[in-house]
Amino acid sequence: MKTSAFKIVAILFGAVYGLAFYYDLALFRYYPETNRFHWQTHPDAGPVILWYGWLATAGLVSTAIALVVPRSISDRIPPTWVWLAPALTTLAMLFYEKRWFV
């Protein structure tokens, strides 16, 4: 993997994770009471952990995009985008999650 692709992963990972969280796009679901992973929802299996699935979705999508973007493009990505995108994602997430405190 070309190292300039790391910049694309940094820019996309948090955003894709946010979308996976918001639109319920977890790649898989883990049910700790039954210690089972499922692709689909299993309401009878007890509480679910989606976080692993959101991480997997974000990792797969951002890495796949980073791998197909030509180096001529990834090399030209301004360094500022690499920290600004995750910082903005963080701010958006904090804004959305204020729902817990009202």
């Binding site: 700790p32 500022t80 690499v82 904090l94 999650e97």
Partner: protein, 155 residues
């Protein structure tokens, strides 16, 4: 077993917090001239680049530890918080898991921007990525402790 894992997770987090705080302060421009005199001066006059690989390894390993602890939290702690109507406690944990995810995503670029020789054109990006990671680790550390002690903290 879960108690041992929790303690190891906490110890790894302390190590990560220390290293990242050193590095986060090291990227602040040093005042002109003079030798380091204050504690803060000495604290931040470290070779930040030397911390990169240990910080990446510690971040990943500590995150894996948190992921292994998560099922116990989901089964035992979260339902208790919901019963107590402690919405804010649930909220700060949700934020913690999102922040750790964002942190994992920036690690490759963090590594890239700290490669030697350090590129002057990337100094501000290197600084802000380091500060972002430091914020994430401080949040995770403090919230982890609050939630671990939540029964004693709530009335």
């Amino acid at each position: 077993m879960i108690t041992i894992l929790l303690i190891v997770h906490g110890l790894l987090a302390v190590t990560l917090l220390g290293g990242l705080t050193h590095q986060a302060l090291s990227v602040i421009s040093a005042p002109a001239g003079g030798s380091p005199r204050s504690f803060i001066d000495r604290f931040r006059r470290v070779n930040g680049a030397a911390y990169v690989n240990p910080i990446i390894v510690l971040f990943i390993v500590t995150s894996i530890g948190g992921a292994l602890l998560y099922p116990q939290y989901r089964i035992d702690v979260r339902p208790m918080l919901e019963e107590m109507d402690a919405r804010a406690a649930n909220g700060i944990f949700e934020i913690k898991e999102h922040l750790v995810a964002i942190g994992l995503g920036v690690l490759p670029a963090y590594w890239l921007f700290w490669q030697q020789p350090l590129a002057a054109a990337q100094s501000s990006s290197r600084r802000y990525l380091t500060w972002l990671l430091a914020f994430i680790v401080w949040w995770g550390f403090l919230i982890g402790h609050v939630l671990n002690n939540i029964k004693g903290l709530l009335p």
